[in-house]
Symmetry: C2
Subunit: 296 residues, 2 copies
């Protein structure tokens, strides 16, 4: 049944073959991934989450889907001949009364309620299993658009010095320890001291807090010291939720008076890396991709 | 030499015998501890850190000490016949140019610079060793004023329900895991999800962030759900820096829309527990002391 669409429709065959379905949450990444996938020669079909996806997705063939409409989504995916699905972009935790449930979703409700009670890893992995049970193949954005992954090494003009490399290592270790707790993906380390941990607030708000900690004297290290460190969570299903870097991140790091940004190479996505590097160079910040733990 | 003061002074003998030295940082706790120690029958001598201690400490026999004046502090302690020292209250990380160093401190500089590069545990334990090497005995505030420790059990009218006890347990485990990282002492858990981790910003700012996360929709759980959990750090030297609870904490928890506050019994201090419980009862929040891990 998973392979027999319930309606007959125009065959999806076109340049790029079977279209890639991109299920779009909020933010700039869904569009970046759609463009990159098209550049890589695939035809793209957008499934835009109502209330979350950027209206700019309308530049691609698209359909809008509500959060409680798994039945509609499944039918539309089959109707358009999509088997490969990429889920990209942020989705704020919904208030239940804002969701209109279709019948397929109602049947899944007991399972969904269980998901919503856990942390993000739990939620996303379970959504993944729902899709696969119905015969779809979930891919990570990096699999269809590998050029959005931040690579290893020094990426701009500045390189981290010895003290900054120490801070990077301390941040990396702290994030590795916290990974199993399903807590955020970022920390700020200044002079070997973890001064901020990212949880539900996200990287931008954490950086704003660090700027305030300097202003109110709780952190008194000189500016141009300290590092934002980001890694994917240890047991994170990379098909769903790789952490991201943007020009806003660079601006936040500059305002927080840090020396630079370090991310796990291949584990963090950037919609427009050249723009990020240009912004970092202009602000005198380093951008550095370190090898994952265990790699040599 | 440690037992021979360099000046002859009025003998410290008075009601309470050898006076207790309270080295006072910022906040309300130093005064609460001074009053509690005096109630317990000890005479009290305040050593107030300039730029940090509350001017209210002047109600006790006192002397002001600058942060770089270890030599002066040592001499004054000996002159007043103090051997027992309690170090209480917060001390913001100083900017080096704000510190005037005396000669004794200059000799210790290499060691102090090393301390300032580490996390708080490291810093405080090393300061402890300095004092002990010079013949003083460092006590915890809870040893001279045990009634400031938050006890076990339900402390106000409200008790945590099953879901809240789950959140408490998740917070307790997260904090246990993070302890060795020398990261804060508090988390907020809502519906089994760690939404905020306290690092250098302190509990009040973390709670303000949780209120904002609800306002901007990043956290959509209904109000009166979720818990603030506080424990002392695993390897924390309790003589220096037990986490604290105050009426401000209760107000922050109420504004963040949480259901209550849970702390490790015997591991968190409160300057005025009756006032805290009254505020929590008025706001419909629970206050709960849970047994330390490993206790039965």
């Amino acid at each position: 049944m998973a392979s027999s669409p319930t309606r007959t429709d125009p065959a999806p065959a076109e340049a790029g073959g079977e279209p890639l379905a991109i299920l779009c949450g909020g933010g700039a990444f869904p569009l970046a991934v759609a463009h990159a996938a098209r550049r890589a020669g695939r035809s793209v079909q957008i499934f835009a989450l109502r209330g979350h996806a950027d209206p700019g997705v309308a530049a691609f063939p698209h359909v809008w889907i509500g959060l409680g409409q798994y039945g509609k989504l499944k039918a539309e995916l089959r109707r358009r001949g999509c088997r490969d699905v990429v889920f990209i972009g942020n989705v704020l935790r919904p208030r239940l009364r804002d969701i209109k449930l279709d019948w397929q979703t109602v049947r899944l409700l007991p399972r969904i309620v269980g998901m919503l009670r856990g942390g993000d890893n739990h939620l996303l992995s379970n959504i993944g299993r729902l899709f696969e049970r119905d015969g779809f193949r979930l891919l990570g954005a990096h699999e269809v658009a590998p050029d959005i992954l931040v690579p290893a090494g020094r990426l701009g003009r500045k390189a981290p010095d010895r003290a900054m490399l120490d801070d990077i290592e301390i941040g990396r270790r702290a994030l590795t320890t916290m990974g199993p707790l399903d807590i955020g993906q970022g920390v700020v380390v200044i002079n070997r001291h973890v001064v901020a941990v990212e949880a539900a607030e996200g990287t931008d708000l954490m950086l704003r807090r660090c700027a305030e900690l300097r202003e109110n004297g709780r952190v008194r290290a000189p500016t141009a010291s300290g590092v934002l460190v980001k890694v994917p969570k240890i047991d994170q299903d990379r098909r769903f939720d790789l952490p991201s870097l943007g020009v806003l991140t660079v601006e936040g790091v500059a305002r927080a008076g840090l020396a630079g940004i370090a991310v796990e190479a291949g584990g963090v996505i950037a919609a427009d890396l050249p723009a990020i590097i240009a912004a970092a160079d202009a602000a005198g910040l380093f951008v550095y991709g370190f090898e994952p733990a265990g790699a040599t």
